[in-house]
């Protein structure tokens, strides 16, 4: 174990996977210099044939990744900001998500799309989106949203080793966060949530960078209100660990979802629907969602803080739910 930043953990995963398997290649815009630091140093280490700057051509990059994968490589396509995947969305929605199905299982497509998501840094509406709800809806894409350095490394490895297209979404503003990273080779499994803290009063499912806020809220509630929160980090949204969420709700009877995507058809609303379907009898209070209202991300910091989920909003939501505790 050693303490590392999230971005360092991602970088280590890339180095280790590229060393382990020479079929792994990585390309994207400015990956050689690396804006975020996740691909920094790879170009010097692995050379220009395996790490390559592309033109600013997202429509091409997303499809190229699939073609190169079909032809035998394991491809990491770095999309830089998640908003730029919209420009390349044709090949994600029409090819990546569908090629295997529509060829009757012929296509093996080991592609990892990497993108930084989320708000909080006043980089406004074209650099702050959280696109996993769209990706979840496509059906054929695996979606990893790590919250800790340990999982960032383990999930990057799982993505690269997957024979299906996957998205690795790194929280744009959180790369500098520190955490323990195990030594040696390990992968974080698909569809296996992590219970970040246990509690009997309310279940909070928090996604990606929201885990940290949920943990802070749990501490406030425990210390100041004697409310015991169970925080679940799904780690991967496709596949989703439904069992972990359902068994927690069966224990607590209350559910709050914290998700920094826009509210309509969010991951939060999808999980709420699953719990309403499968654990309705366990619920002692309405399911609540702490999300971003259906607006573009504002530039002004005061407005951005207002629309993003916050510790205060999570605390207030949970307090309301538990006011009527028996």
């Amino acid at each position: 174990m050693a303490k590392k930043r999230i971005i360092q953990a991602i970088n280590e995963a890339l180095v280790e996977e590229m060393t382990r398997d020479e079929r792994v290649i990585l390309f994207g815009e400015d990956v050689e210099i690396s804006l975020f630091g996740d691909t920094r140093g790879l170009s010097q280490r692995f050379g220009p044939s395996r790490i390559r700057n592309t033109p600013i051509s997202e429509t091409l990059i997303t499809g190229m990744a699939l073609g190169a994968a079909a032809a035998g490589h394991r491809v990491v396509a770095h999309m830089m900001f998640a908003n730029f995947t919209y420009t390349g969305f044709d090949s994600i929605a029409n090819q990546a998500a569908k090629l295997r199905y529509m060829t009757g299982g012929q296509a093996r497509l080991p592609v990892t799309y990497v993108a930084a998501y989320g708000g909080g840094r006043s980089i406004a509406a074209h650099h702050s989106d959280t696109p996993y709800p769209l990706l979840m809806n496509l059906g054929g894409i695996r979606v990893a949203v790590p919250a800790t350095p340990e999982d960032a490394k383990g999930l990057m490895k799982s993505c690269i080793r997957s024979d299906s297209p996957s998205f690795f979404l790194e929280a744009g503003g959180r790369g500098g966060e520190m955490g323990e990273v195990p030594d040696g080779d390990y992968v974080t499994p698909w569809g296996k949530a992590a219970v970040r803290c246990t509690g009997g009063d309310v279940t909070v499912v928090a996604i990606g960078s929201m885990v940290k806020l949920a943990m802070a809220a749990a501490e406030v509630l425990r210390n100041e209100h004697s409310i015991h929160v169970e925080v679940i980090d799904p780690r991967t949204l496709v596949p989703l660990d439904e069992d972990c969420i359902l068994s927690s709700v069966e224990k607590t009877g209350r559910l709050v979802l914290v998700d920094e995507s826009r509210d309509s058809c969010s991951a939060a609303s999808h999980i709420a629907a699953i719990v309403a379907d499968k654990a309705f009898g366990s619920l002692r209070a309405p399911i609540r969602r702490v999300t971003v209202p259906d607006v573009a991300m504002p530039y002004a910091p005061n407005l951005e803080r207002l629309v993003m989920p916050s510790v205060e909003r999570i605390v207030a939501t949970i307090q309301q739910l538990t006011d009527s505790r028996p």
Partner: protein
Amino acid sequence: MKENPGDNRPSSAERLAMYERMLLIRRVEERLGADFKAGKLIAGVHLYSGQEAVGVGVCQHLRDADWIASNHRGHGHFLAKGGDVRAMMAEIHAKVTGVCKGMGGTMHVADLSKGILGANGIVGGGISLICGAAYSQSLQGDGGVSVAFFGDGASTQGVMSEALNLSALWKLPMIFICENNLFSEFSRSDTVVAGRIVDRAGAYGVPGVQVDGNDLDAVWAAASQAVQRARNGEGPSFIEAFTYRMSGHVEAETGFLQGAKYRSEEEVQSWVERDPIQRQMAQLLSTQQATLDQLTDIEARVLAQVEDAVQFAIDSPPPPPEQALQFMFA
């Protein structure tokens, strides 16, 4: 397969093989057209009739390990690249014995084991896939080639320009085959495409040629040069082949167009007179590279193959219900 693609004419044996393959495509498409009209198909089909010389003339230079990507008008490319006619027919009939087990259908015939990366319902959708396959081949350094077949309609998609830029810069073994059949679905392409399509290649420093796409020799010779260039690591090439779809955009169109016309009978007739198969037949006979008896035998063999494929498709079962939820993830 051509041993020496520097020759500018195919051998007699190659010419006969290409003739047979063109004829197979034509007879398959004619059968599908007739079966659609008779209500025997489940969906409309986009027929390749009239364009056979392009697919066949290009694929004659390719090996199984080379990749092609096709479009919604993909039956011809599939057969030209060596796809199995039974497996394709069963796919079109939505049977579990189909090449994609009935999951893709007429617009998506793919056989990855034969380098057929798929036929695409998104106009221009195959271009980026092939650019990636070409990148993979260039890294593997095995002389592989990747070919994108697309139409004049796809030339207006942004991805074509993006792929020209990147493939030129990275010297990828990619070949752009633009089958200019004069129509972007139901719009005349001169009303929706500015300038000469081949000139887009020149702007990126990619060598481009225009050829008569109904002339097998011309297509074969242009493709020979492009494939050689790609295999030698000299980068991409662009071929704009002028041709014509003898059928409409899709066989279902007479129903939904409700009598509306987008091309004249005279125009169709003028292209029927330039039928690439008839031209090849005349050439084979006039140059005594084949006898009428030989061609009659080929015709009989092809018709038997088509009949066998249709029967195979009809006799095959549909996919089992559980298959609806399979194949999403590896």
